[in-house]
């Protein structure tokens, strides 16, 4: 048990994975000598060699495609995509190959590939460095998509992802990289599986479902709301595909109200899926329509506007007021 930043906790997780299994190899741009632009892989090439921690040419399709070949050969590649906005050149290899090869080969070939993606905004960056592309992958059958919100989860989940025999998209909330927390490096039967959601705050009035960077915001909202006498239950989804609907369903059956929040654009985002699925499962328990608090349906804006794109505490509380039927920004909205 030691205090680690979220970034460092992924690093120690990768270190463990490299130690535990000689078939684990890391591939990516600048992950070796530099340790990655966020230093997540700092020291790993020095300690495990350039054969296992490989700087690659600057070509994301190439990285993903060679990872497929390595997986064919029995390796467990861990690919780093430098920033969210640079994953698209690899999209074809991910959706047409990585996601489908196990199905295509009737189970003969496994693709235990982990794709690490620092994602999300709020860091004042230039274009392509603040995106939340997770929904593209949750719509792709054959992939697992997970994300973490605490150093502990970051550590255990990256190890679980690397150990998983399915391909896993592992989204890292880059604006929380420097958050610190206790990390226990022991994984045993009591460790929560990576495809389970976690209730991070218990409450009775409204279920707030979120993941990654906004878990902290939702926690703050729970605190603020409690001052107002409203009790929020905050669920960190952790796994976006598959979604642990059982946990969310159980909560909403109690609270009768759902707010989903994420940074990604609204239209066709994970929030739509969660709202639709939970409405299907809990329709007669719902007191209000599930509300979504998300990025707007515009390209991620320049840094000076990002606060007017990203959901924040106030927008979240406003949605809580909405599902509670209290005065809110849309009170009397006529469309």
């Amino acid at each position: 048990m030691a205090v680690q930043t979220l970034a460092a906790a992924i690093g120690t997780g990768l270190r463990r994975a490299l130690q535990d299994d000689p078939r684990v190899v890391l591939l990516g741009e600048d992950i070796g000598r530099l340790g990655g632009v966020f230093r997540v892989t700092d020291g790993l090439q020095r300690d495990f060699g350039a054969d296992r921690v490989m700087d690659t040419p600057l070509a994301e399709a190439g990285i993903m495609g060679t990872a497929v070949g390595l997986a064919y050969r029995g390796y467990r590649p861990v690919v780093e995509i430098q920033f969210d906005g640079f994953i698209y050149p690899a999209f074809d290899q991910i959706v047409a190959q990585v996601a489908k090869l196990h199905y295509r080969t009737g189970g003969a070939v496994r693709m235990p590939i982990t794709v690490r993606v620092p994602y999300g905004g709020g860091i004042g960056a230039v274009e392509h460095h603040s995106e939340s592309p997770e929904a593209y992958f949750t719509h792709t059958a054959g992939l697992r998509v997970v994300t973490c919100s605490s150093p502990q989860d970051a550590h255990t989940m990256i190890r679980q992802a690397v150990a998983c025999d399915d391909p896993v998209l592992f989204f890292e909330p880059k604006r929380r990289y420097w958050v610190k927390g206790d990390v226990d490096e022991v994984i045993d039967e009591t460790t929560m599986a990576m495809d389970r959601a976690r209730v991070v705050v218990e409450g009775d009035d409204v279920t707030v479902v979120t993941y990654g960077p906004l878990v902290a915001t939702a926690r703050d909202a729970a605190l603020a709301a409690s001052d107002d006498g409203i009790s929020l239950e905050v669920i960190d989804l952790r796994s976006l595909a598959p979604v642990d609907y059982e946990t969310v369903e159980a909560s909403v059956r109690r609270t009768g109200r759902l707010v989903v929040t994420h940074e990604a654009q609204q239209h066709g985002g994970v929030g739509a899926e969660v709202a639709a699925s939970i409405t299907e499962r809990c329709f007669h328990h719902l007191e209000a329509a599930p509300a979504r608090v998300t990025g707007f349906d515009v390209p991620y804006p320049p840094a000076a506007l990002e606060d007017h794109f990203l959901p924040d505490l106030d927008r979240l509380l406003d949605a809580v007021d909405r599902v509670m039927g209290r005065q809110n920004s849309l009170s009397g909205w006529r469309g």
């Binding site: 690659t56 040419p57 399709a61 495609g65 050969r73 290899q93 047409a96 196990h102 009737g106 003969a108």
Partner: protein, 397 residues
């Protein structure tokens, strides 16, 4: 036994250093050959041997028996190809991509491989699959639509074909990088077409292969066409010219000459096994049939071009070689025909016997272990099917 493996070449140990550098102070072109050599040909269309001091030694061990075996392979795969086209016409297969005309490129290269090499191919490499030992019924499963793939890649050392043009070249490169890590001298072979060379993936594969000195052979069958597009739309220079700029030596070979293809592939494999990295082979051949059974080449292929290539038939020239040497005996002809007939029959019968899979198998193998989410969809669909099995069924709109 005609279908035996050709003996592999002597094996050398691979060097450990896995990347070459560029030094700007040295003349960067000092090791560039003056100019690429002409297309490799060991057997002319009339069946006579052509001398080539560089490549001949690589097929010195290939005597009459082995030439007869290659001949039989080519006759069999052509026969299977024609049979599959017929099966498609009869409604047994949804689609078939004929390899007619490319028998020498595929057999000559595939027969150079060892069992522990690994092939990553496109959809047209059915002769390669045959040489790798893929079952005859397995060749048609995908085209009948009863299965997502025909065979277990690990059982035959050949991945299931990639329909996405060019994607497999990266897979081969990654696999080859894995071979180096494992310290074995197996080689990965990527098959693809002339059209594929335009794809980013194929070019990135060359970048990675060069950078990691990966033991991979890029085997491009330039059959002159990508559906209706002539190769001149993809490349204004010979395709073999592309690789050297990436630091990968290339060989242009007559793809209708099974001996030349065998020799060139052996050279490439040997280089890979010795630790010298990738080679690019352009096998210049011709797609004598349509792109697939859905295609209508009369819309775009010039008749004269087609006929000129018919004169360079890859099987005919081996037949002539055997004939000139007095080896095209009635026994051989009979044996080859019998083998081809038997193979065609086996494939046809196998094809007829293929049954659609169980409905609920649509949910199998998405993940390596069940997810509650997909299990729920499966069980709901099961309930749905159960209801409709009880009730009278409805029609589709």
């Amino acid at each position: 036994m005609l279908r035996s493996e050709l003996s592999p070449n002597p094996v050398h140990h691979r060097t450990t250093d896995s990347r070459a550098g560029t030094d700007d102070d040295v003349d960067p072109w000092q090791d560039l050959p003056a100019r690429p050599r002409a297309t490799v040909q060991l057997l002319s269309p009339d069946g006579t041997r052509r001398s080539d001091p560089e490549y001949e030694p690589w097929v010195q061990d290939v005597g009459t028996d082995q030439i007869s075996a290659l001949y039989q392979d080519m006759v069999v795969v052509r026969r299977l190809d024609i049979e599959a086209t017929a099966l498609q016409r009869q409604g047994q297969l949804g689609l078939w991509p004929p390899l007619l005309g490319q028998e020498a490129s595929q057999v000559g290269s595939a027969r150079a491989l060892r069992a522990d090499d690994f092939v990553f191919s496109s959809y047209r490499e059915n002769a390669v699959a045959y040489c790798r030992g893929v079952g005859l019924t397995d060749l048609v499963r995908v085209w009948k639509g009863t299965s997502a793939s025909g065979w277990d890649p690990y059982a035959v050392g050949m991945a299931t074909p990639s329909i996405i043009i060019g994607a497999q070249t990266l897979h081969a490169t990654g696999y080859a990088m894995g071979c180096v890590k494992d310290g074995v001298d197996s080689v990965a072979v990527a098959y693809f077409g002339d059209g594929a060379t335009s794809q980013g993936d194929v070019n990135e594969a060359m970048v990675f292969a060069a950078s990691f000195r990966a033991p991979v052979v890029f085997f491009c069958q330039n059959n002159q066409w990508a559906i209706s597009e002539p190769v001149s739309l993809q490349a204004v220079r010979p395709i073999a010219d592309r690789a050297p700029g990436f630091g990968i030596p290339s060989i242009r070979v007559d793809g209708n000459d099974v001996l030349a293809v065998l020799a060139a592939t052996r050279v490439a494999l040997d280089r890979a096994r010795r630790g010298d990295g990738a080679t690019f082979i352009e096998a210049v051949t011709y797609r004598m049939g349509p792109h697939t059974t859905s295609d209508d080449p009369t819309r775009y292929v010039d008749k004269a071009e087609h006929e000129s290539w018919a004169g360079r038939d890859p099987i005919l020239r081996v037949e002539r070689l055997l004939e000139l040497g007095g080896h095209l005996t009635p026994e051989l002809t009979r044996a080859v025909t019998a083998t081809a007939d038997a193979a065609a029959r086996e494939m046809r019968d196998g094809c007829h016997g293929l049954e659609p899979p169980e409905p609920l198998s649509v949910f199998d193998h998405v993940y390596t272990s069940p997810t509650s989410w997909l299990e729920r969809q499966r069980r709901q669909y099961e309930a749905y099917l159960a209801m409709y099995q009880d009730a009278p069924g409805g029609g589709e709109g």
